[in-house]
């Protein structure tokens, strides 16, 4: 049983992610993008954050064609758990494993700060240790986090209880942080096995860094 963390040229969160999962007692393997297969004991694939291929063309657009992604897509289609954090979320959308796309933030800024998030749905393996409507404080750091989906797609997400995290203020009111449709910060696929989010739970695991709210999430992911 092991967490496979993908590394593309330009990925820069693989060691933070590895540190966080190891701290929580999970086995981890960093997998290079040119590898053809995931480790056979993989029970979670994490597409870590960063700037794969320099964000050239569109964030995540080139990474989706890396050799390892073929096996990730196969793994995901068989029901394997996949988590995409930040650039990982962008890659999963580009690869068609998650619906919608991520555009440039409306204010065109790279937004890097702690951000309150609301747990919109917890009836999934990823947020099962959180309460519904619970407010978490987890850092965001992105320029292309403006989640877009058309109206029909949004209705489907709502109906499928696939909206998992939304940007809010500390009282839980939705905030238009980056222009995302419905203030969406994270979604999952209809089968609730693939989760993509812009915030970085691996950066919120030690009180000295400001928050430990990421632990509850990561514990559920790896279990």
């Amino acid at each position: 049983m092991s967490v496979a963390i993908l590394r593309f040229p330009g990925t820069n969160c693989e060691f933070d992610t590895e540190y966080a999962f190891q701290k929580l007692g999970f086995q981890t393997t960093i997998v290079w993008h040119n590898d053809a297969t995931l480790p056979s004991d993989t029970n979670l694939v994490v597409v870590a954050g960063g700037f794969s291929y320099g964000d050239y063309l569109r964030s995540g657009s080139i990474a989706k064609f890396s050799p390892i992604m073929k096996d990730v897509i196969k793994y995901a289609n068989k029901g394997g758990k996949v988590l995409g954090i930040c650039n990982g979320f962008q890659i999963l959308c580009e690869a068609g494993l998650l619906p919608g796309a991520l555009k440039r933030n409306t204010n065109l800024h790279f937004i890097s700060k702690y951000q309150y998030l609301k747990v919109a749905n917890n009836n999934n393996i990823f947020l099962q240790k959180c309460e519904k409507d619970e407010i978490l404080n987890i850092p965001i750091a992105h320029a292309d986090g403006n989640y877009y989906i058309d109206d029909i797609g949004l209705e489907e997400l709502k109906k499928g209880e696939q909206i998992l995290l939304q940007y809010v203020d500390e009282k839980g009111e939705l905030l238009p942080i980056n222009g995302s449709v419905a203030s969406i910060a994270g979604i999952c696929n209809i089968n609730k096995t693939i989760f993509g989010l812009m915030p970085h739970p691996e950066r919120a695991i030690e009180a000295i860094l400001g928050s430990t709210d990421g632990i509850k999430m990561l514990e559920s992911f790896g279990a």
């Binding site: 796309a101 409306t106 065109l108």
Partner: protein, 80 residues
């Protein structure tokens, strides 16, 4: 032969960069601008001789990689 692929955000998808440039042009005193959309142009130099075949290839390239059809539209121009 060259293929010029223009990629734009779809109509109805907010273009934050276009909006910022629109605003900046207004601040500079340029008037009468209804809308600004920013896209990108990708120029491909091709070995192909057959124009129709090349257009088909570039169409496939655009759908696969050059544009994200969830949010973007594209058009292709073949130039000899």
């Amino acid at each position: 032969m060259k293929a010029i692929v223009n990629v734009y955000l779809k109509q109805g998808v907010l273009d934050p960069q276009g909006k910022a440039v629109h605003h900046a042009l207004g601040s500079l005193g340029f008037e009468g601008i209804k809308n600004v959309r920013i896209g990108k142009q990708i120029v491909l130099e091709l070995e192909a001789k057959d124009e129709q075949k090349a257009a088909q290839e570039v169409q496939a390239m655009s759908e696969t990689l050059l544009a994200n059809t969830v949010i973007e539209d594209f058009d292709i121009e073949i130039v000899q």
